[in-house]
């Protein structure tokens, strides 16, 4: 879980850095609903999650609240892999 967590965190750090946002964030910190990530960034995140973790979101569907923080994303991956 720790490795998965750091992989997810790396994806998010990269995504934020591309937007010029270098501020740190905790695992529980909101990234979408706080406005740090926009819809188009969420799309980028979805693509990265599909590529890295083999998740097909077109099959499962999703809600933005499931991708709002590192912890939310980890929970979603665990649910979809179960």
């Amino acid at each position: 879980m720790a490795d998965l967590g750091s992989e997810v965190r790396t994806l998010l750090v990269e995504l934020l850095r591309n937007k010029g946002d270098t501020a740190t964030f905790s695992d529980d910190e909101s990234l979408i609903f706080s406005g740090r990530l926009q819809s188009i960034d969420v799309v980028e995140l979805l693509v990265q999650l599909e590529t890295h973790f083999g998740i097909d979101f077109s099959e499962h569907g999703f809600d933005q609240s499931q991708l709002d923080s590192v912890r939310d994303i980890l929970q979603l991956i665990a649910e979809l892999r179960a």
Partner: protein
């Protein structure tokens, strides 16, 4: 308590007729916060009982009169019971959509719901019905159209691990803070509310203070808007403001000068009548109307978000510094956040995730068009469904071409800006090149696009293009 009192005063000063209802709701959510979501449901149902029994009441009344339908259809008893029946029906659909999520047609419930809605519109238009039967069918169409997007978020919530029960989802349908003002879900659905709800007294206090601060900022904007429109357009076309109106009435004072700039509507009407204003007057009218529309959007959304915050939910603003946007997509996001969020959730993501997976740019283009063009058109067509009864289905569809053109240009603009934005490296060339020029370009795009921002069905599109041409010096 003093914070809530200050909030109620702020709402009253803004001329919000339902300030007392919101204030009563806020007292409950503040002092009994554990039941906050229950109060939300009860508040939403209370508005249905005491405020608006059925959506589009004036339209239904006119139709019933024309069809000589039974007066019972207009009675509060029928409409309240009918609304509860319809909400119960939607609850059954939500339950079935959760139970049978893997099987057709509930695998794609929103698509099924949209197709059912338009099938119902066709039936209402062409079924050999008259009198009360026809009115009831149109009442069902109006109800489904008005609740469509709210219910959509309930269906999305079935993807959550712990979705709220339907009884709590009801609180998100025309919630108290929006006072049944718009079919756009303010603020999104149950999943979002769970995420942004204050979890302890400290969070609640901070959220409420932010709500109060936003509300009093609206009051400042309200005064600025009234003075701006009075100065630019003149007293007869000025925006109404309780504070400014009362101040002027009590003091007998009036702005000594005003520019008497024509409104965009007046300038376009003159143009269509063959007596256009000079090109520079049209430009001033266009820019003034654009600035006014930005203020109007803030004045509409901020009190709703402020009330939502005062109830303990950390909602983002609906309009947030749109003039700072550097791309078309960013402006759309900053100008009307919750409308954009609705389109993104219901159209952009599903399209993006399902189609053209190997073609990234095409994927982005199609998803942007699905949201900003198709979704936008669908929302406004459903919102103004009375045109179908007034003009007939064919004329209502054909007459929609001006707004269809608007959404097409908007969709293409958003797609292009998103594609080009992904290629850029961030913040490289200084303030003027990085911020000023892009912001002016985006402002100009939306300023010009508002020429086509009309959902009326009777103006020919030619008039809109002629007005656009008249903005060029020496056109006539």
């Amino acid at each position: 308590m003093s914070l809530l009192a200050a909030f109620a005063v702020g709402l009253a000063l803004l001329g919000n007729a339902g300030w007392w209802a919101i204030a009563a709701f806020l007292v409950l959510t503040t002092f009994l916060p554990r039941q906050r979501r229950v109060w939300l449901t009860l508040g939403s149902l209370s508005l249905l009982f005491f405020h608006t029994h059925w959506p589009k009441a004036a339209f239904i009344r006119d139709l019933a009169k024309r069809e000589q339908a039974s007066h019972f259809l207009l009675s509060p008893t029928f409409q309240i019971l009918g609304a509860l029946f319809m909400l119960g029906l939607l609850g059954i659909v939500a339950h079935l959509a959760g139970e049978f999520r893997k099987s057709f047609p509930l695998k794609r419930p929103l698509l099924t719901l949209a197709l059912s809605y338009f099938l119902l519109v066709l039936t209402a238009c062409y079924a050999p019905l008259s009198g009360s039967g026809r009115v009831v069918l149109w009442m069902v169409v109006v109800f489904l159209g008005s609740y469509f997007w709210y219910f959509g978020f309930t269906l999305l919530d079935r993807n959550s691990k712990d979705p709220d029960p339907y009884s709590l989802q009801l609180g998100t349908y025309y919630p108290v803070w929006a006072l049944r003002a718009s079919p756009t879900p303010f603020v999104k659905g149950a999943a979002y509310l769970r995420k942004i709800e204050a979890k302890n007294p400290e969070e609640l206090a901070v959220t409420q203070l932010k709500g109060l601060k936003l509300l009093y900022w609206v009051l400042v904007l309200d005064i600025l808007n009234a003075l701006f429109t009075r100065f630019v357009f003149g007293p007869e076309n000025a925006s109404s403001s309780v504070v400014v109106n009362n101040l002027l009435r009590w003091t007998g004072w009036e702005l000594p000068v005003h520019l008497s700039v024509p409104t965009l509507g007046t300038a376009m009407a003159r143009n269509a009548a063959g007596a256009p204003f000079a090109w520079y007057v049209c430009w001033v009218a266009l820019i003034a109307s654009f600035l006014k529309s930005l203020l109007t959007a803030s004045l509409f959304g901020h009190p709703i978000v402020a009330s939502c915050r005062a109830a303990g939910f950390r909602a983002l603003r609906n309009t947030y510094r749109p003039l700072e946007s550097r791309t078309i997509a960013e402006f759309f996001n900053r100008y009307y956040f919750y409308f954009k969020e609705m389109l993104v959730e219901f159209f952009f993501y599903p399209t993006y995730l399902r189609y053209f997976k190997r073609h990234r740019r095409l994927r982005l283009m199609v998803a942007s068009l699905a949201a900003a063009t198709l979704g936008n058109m669908m929302y406004h067509f459903m919102r103004d469904i009375e045109y179908v009864v007034q003009l007939g289905l064919w004329k209502a569809v054909v007459g929609f071409r001006v707004y269809a053109f608007y959404t097409l240009v908007l969709g293409l603009g958003i797609a292009a800006s998103q594609i080009s934005d992904r290629r850029k490296s961030p913040h490289t060339a200084g303030w003027i090149r990085d911020r000023l020029w892009p912001s002016l370009g985006v402002g100009l795009f939306f300023c010009l696009l508002q020429v086509f921002d009309s959902t009326a069905r009777t103006t020919p599109i030619r008039d809109h293009f002629l007005f656009l041409a008249n903005l060029l010096p020496g056109w006539r």
